[in-house]
């Protein structure tokens, strides 16, 4: 067996292990599906009339909301990735793998890939739920694929950062604290629920720099009747750069974890 196939095989084994863990936690799976459904239902009804204010590019609020909920869900589920890593450290699982010949890269990649697969799956389900609720996706399948890719990238960013934090601080409380602190501001300082035209100027300015918003902009631009590919590329490029930086950072913390053992 040559090194390349062996390395790919190791990546696959480690990812498969992580995916199995998720599939075997029915409570987690149910939450992953029920939560976005509730959000779609609650926010969809609560804000139904804001669409009348104009600037949403549609007359049905649900059309506007679906990409927002897709991205918000990607954010909220990825933010907790560090908890799993922390548990693996405490249980000794990470150390067990570190004494085997498995490549250190495969250990890290497994987290990222697993996160990507779960985010993509969750996004598809939200899109389908939206369709059931009567949402319209004028950009067709291409627009939806771009939306899902954007949410996967956002998930990778926050998943990698959360993993880095788990390895660095080794405290559940810190992850919980940071996540609860960040979740709502990141969501409300974006166009998740409100068209940019209806947001106060200062909020718009902040949203322009919020990667959570970038993912929504990418999704909505690609899903429009006349997709704005310039926006998709610029914001999507930003997400890609951030993903690379976040994954690099979590690889660095992984090395510092190894030094602290």
């Amino acid at each position: 067996m040559n090194t390349m196939t062996e390395s790919l095989a190791q990546n696959w084994f480690m990812t498969q292990r992580q995916l199995k863990v998720i599939v075997r936690q029915p409570a987690y799976l149910v939450m992953m599906l029920v939560q976005p459904a509730i959000w779609l239902f609650l926010f969809g009804n609560l804000f139904k009339k804001v669409v009348e204010l104009g600037g949403f590019g549609t007359t049905t609020y649900l059309d506007y909301l679906v990409p927002g909920i897709v991205v918000m869900s990607a954010l909220s589920s990825s933010m907790w990735a560090g908890m799993g890593t922390l548990e693996e450290i405490e249980r000794g699982t990470l150390n067990r793998f570190l004494t085997t010949p498995v490549s250190r890269g495969a250990l890290m990649n497994a987290n990222v890939v697993q996160n990507g697969v779960s985010t993509a799956l969750q996004s598809v389900i939200i899109v389908l739920l939206g369709k059931l609720g009567g949402a319209d996706y004028p950009g067709g399948i291409t627009g939806l694929v771009v939306l899902i890719l954007a949410s996967v990238l956002l998930g990778a960013i926050f998943g990698a950062l959360s993993n880095a934090m788990g390895m660095l601080v080794r405290q559940r409380e810190s992850i919980i604290g940071v996540n609860t602190f960040l979740m709502l501001p990141l969501t409300f300082l974006s166009t998740a629920f409100m068209a940019p035209a209806q947001m106060p100027g200062w909020m718009q300015s902040i949203a322009d720099w919020n990667p959570v918003n970038w993912a929504m902009v990418v999704g909505r631009s690609a899903m429009a009747d006349n997709p704005d590919w310039g926006l998709v590329l610029s914001r999507g490029g930003g997400l890609l750069v951030l993903t690379v930086v976040a994954v690099w950072l979590s690889t660095r913390t992984f090395r510092s974890y190894q030094k602290s053992v």
């Binding site: 067996m1 062996e6 095989a9 190791q10 084994f13 292990r17 199995k20 863990v21 075997r24 936690q25 405490e90 249980r91 000794g92 699982t93 990470l94 150390n95 067990r96 793998f97 570190l98 004494t99 085997t100 010949p101 498995v102 190894q258 030094k259 602290s260 053992v261």
Partner: protein, 348 residues
């Protein structure tokens, strides 16, 4: 290039399986874990690192198993430099860490399969090896269930099986029976003794149970404050201590320990007297013959004796001699969660 085969290369004849030279390691916050740890483990033997919690046993194992790097010193495991070629060492060793690293959401079989795959085992070779290990560790039935439902003993057996999947040259067992109930502990001891009989397998065992080291290890290194204080076979170590120990228990705490100590130390053949509350330990030439004189001396001093036992020197006595304190004191000093302390049986 090393092969990706599951089985390790045969041990080089005559070369030690593990060699550590002057390892030092200080953790952030100025916690000195190792201060000149050196040890040599001959191939095919069971070597015990014995010491209280915090003595540096686990840090030594972490360095030898490539998890941690020392600040200075060198280490060779299975003929490979652990610092320069950790990847080669990893193929040759099996590690059973203190914490069970098994994945609780996976079944026992899946844990073993993944472990085997990481060492390059595939297909029928893998299936056969996994079946063999499940059978051997009495997990054939349990192997189908998720590990989270396992008892402490079952989990520990799986941990050992995980360490053996690829037929390593050197097996590290870090505190293999800590936290097990007495029954599971005895079963684990039998298992380790069986492993020791395996062709060519070298075992490095760490423990803070004196009895465990005494029972399983052919050679013991007593570790205290980050270095080896004495090394040898259990019998040789105990044999170096002259005479017997006589343990006396008073009905009430001694009123003046110094007077008692002086009275006992003045008796012929008495080398050493230790008084700890109601308990007195005396090291003397011929224990049984010395008892009447000791009792008489105590009676003259006005101390009523509740019990007296004569014991051959134990590893606890060896530890006391070389580390300068009782094993139990060293453990208590380190403030560990392990409340239970097993000392070598007094009658051994």
């Amino acid at each position: 290039m090393q092969s990706s085969q599951g089985s390790a290369l045969p041990a080089r004849a005559g070369a030690p399986a593990v060699q550590a030279h002057e390892l030092t390691k200080t953790y952030p916050g100025d916690v000195t874990a190792l201060s000149g740890m050196s040890l040599t483990v001959e191939a095919g033997t069971v070597f015990g690192l014995l010491g209280p919690n915090g003595a540096g046993k686990s840090t030594t194992v972490k360095i030898l198993t490539t998890l941690a790097r020392p600040d200075s010193g060198s280490a060779t495991v299975a003929g490979h430099d652990a610092l320069r070629h950790p990847d080669r060492v990893r193929r040759a060793i099996g590690v059973v860490a203190q914490k069970s690293g098994a994945d609780p959401m996976a079944t026992g079989r899946e844990n073993l399969q993944l472990q085997g795959r990481l060492y390059g085992l595939r297909g029928t070779d893998l299936t056969r090896r996994v079946d063999e290990l499940l059978e051997r560790f009495d997990l054939a039935e349990a192997g189908k269930r998720q590990v989270k439902g396992y008892s402490g003993g079952m989990q520990r057996r799986l941990d050992v099986a995980l360490g053996l999947v690829h037929r390593p040259e050197v097996l590290f067992l870090d505190e293999p029976t800590t936290g097990l109930d007495p029954e599971a502990r005895t079963a684990m001891w039998d298992e380790i003794a069986r492993l020791a009989g395996d062709e060519g397998l070298t075992i490095l065992l760490t423990t803070h149970y004196l009895e465990e080291a005494d029972r399983l290890a052919e050679r013991i290194a007593i570790v205290d404050r980050g270095r080896v204080v004495v090394e040898g076979t259990p019998d040789a170590l105990k044999g170096e201590l002259r005479g017997d120990a006589v343990h006396l228990e008073l009905r009430a705490q001694a009123q003046d320990a110094d007077v008692l100590r002086a009275a006992l130390a003045a008796l012929p053949g008495v080398h050493e007297v230790l008084i700890d509350g109601r308990r007195i330990s005396v090291r003397t030439e011929d224990g049984a013959a010395a008892v009447p004189a000791l009792l008489a001396a105590l009676e003259r001093a006005g101390a009523a004796v509740a019990a007296a036992t004569v014991a051959r020197p134990s590893l606890d006595d060896v530890y006391l001699r070389y580390a300068g304190r009782r094993f139990s004191e060293a453990e208590a000093a380190h403030d560990t969660p392990h409340a239970e302390l097993v000392t070598a049986g007094g009658a051994r």
